[in-house]
């Protein structure tokens, strides 16, 4: 039995050090939390569940926050782990997500390319958000779009991950974009 309590998930992604944790922290109504997953090296078999005897374990930390939308709807924001090798967690985070914000550091545009590629391939709605905390941006919108291979229909936003309102505006931009891609039906 499912009670009328809904969770909505948004992923905050981007390259290493693009401001994901800062973003989650600035919009969350609670101090951002960290949950951990213990990972192990899989031998070969994909569905092999005998990990207990494996030797090397790694812990991956996930930052997340929450925004209560209404008495029965809570929005959870999950930051992706900084390192690419934790790709497994991306699947877990993206599953059922309404969309993703891909933060972009203008000093290293290419660092956010894998994130864009990830959501693009899976058809998950996303927006690219240039994080202003790295100072004045030397590129035009076209240059950034070109470098990120952003399709014309993907919004490119600007935000300051340290600022609550600015970050919330980016979330609003994402929700609007995700809604625009939904089929109109009754």
């Amino acid at each position: 039995m499912h009670l009328d309590r809904k969770s909505v998930k948004i992923v905050v992604a981007g390259g290493f050090g693009t401001g994901k944790t800062t973003f989650v922290g600035s919009v969350s109504e609670i101090p951002p939390l960290t949950t951990e997953e213990v990972l192990t090296q899989a031998s070969v078999g994909v569905d092999d569940v005998t990990g207990v005897e494996e030797k090397s374990h790694t812990t991956v930390a996930l930052d997340f926050g929450r925004i209560t939308i209404s008495p029965n709807v809570v929005l959870y924001l999950f930051g992706t782990p900084g390192q690419d090798r934790f790709w497994f967690m991306w699947d877990e985070l993206a599953q059922g997500a309404v969309g993703a914000i891909v933060l972009v550091d203008t000093r290293r545009l290419d660092s956010s390319f894998p994130a864009i590629d990830y959501f693009e391939r899976r058809g998950i709605p996303f927006v690219a958000a240039v994080n202003r905390f790295f100072g004045e941006c030397a590129y035009t919108e076209e240059e950034i779009r070109g470098a990120l291979e952003l399709h014309g229909n993907i919004p490119l936003l600007w935000c300051d991950a340290r600022d609550k309102s600015s970050s919330k505006l980016a979330l609003i931009g994402l929700v609007r974009h995700a809604m625009s891609r939904m089929p109109v039906s009754a």
């Binding site: 499912h2 569940v49 929450r66 709807v73 999950f78 059922g96 391939r121």
Partner: protein, 125 residues
């Protein structure tokens, strides 16, 4: 092949998967819709027969809490949290909310989120 970074081995390091640990005779939750954003809450049931680790979970779920929050507050790895919550659901100690949005487009829910975000923006909290 351009998708090897995400979908395959990286530089021969092998792939990382969650460490499966045997908890109460199982290594993964049976309810497949247990997502880390799924919220649960404690049902008014006598917990005296439960082991302390499980009682801890029931206790912090006096109000709705997500799997991720339970893991964070109790310092439990996610996979273990999921399995333990699954056990508690099955034994009737916890109630469960809807899982994070499935494929079905839920425009009304999105409208609610949009309105909620705009409201909180105007509130300037």
């Amino acid at each position: 092949m351009t998708d090897d970074v995400w979908d395959g081995d990286e530089a021969g390091t092998g792939r990382l998967v969650p460490l499966y640990i045997l908890v109460n005779g199982r290594t993964s939750p049976r309810a497949h819709d247990l997502d880390l954003a799924t919220q649960v809450f404690a049902l008014p049931v006598d917990t005296r027969r439960l082991e302390p680790e499980y009682v801890e979970i029931v206790k912090i779920c006096a109000n709705w809490l997500s799997i991720a929050e339970i893991g964070a507050y109790l310092h439990l790895p996610l996979t273990i949290t999921k399995v333990m919550v699954d056990v508690l659901l099955e034994q009737g100690y916890l109630g469960i909310g809807s899982p994070a949005q499935e494929e079905i487009a839920d425009l009304r829910l999105m409208e609610q989120i949009l309105a909620g975000l705009q409201q909180s923006l105007n509130a300037r909290d």
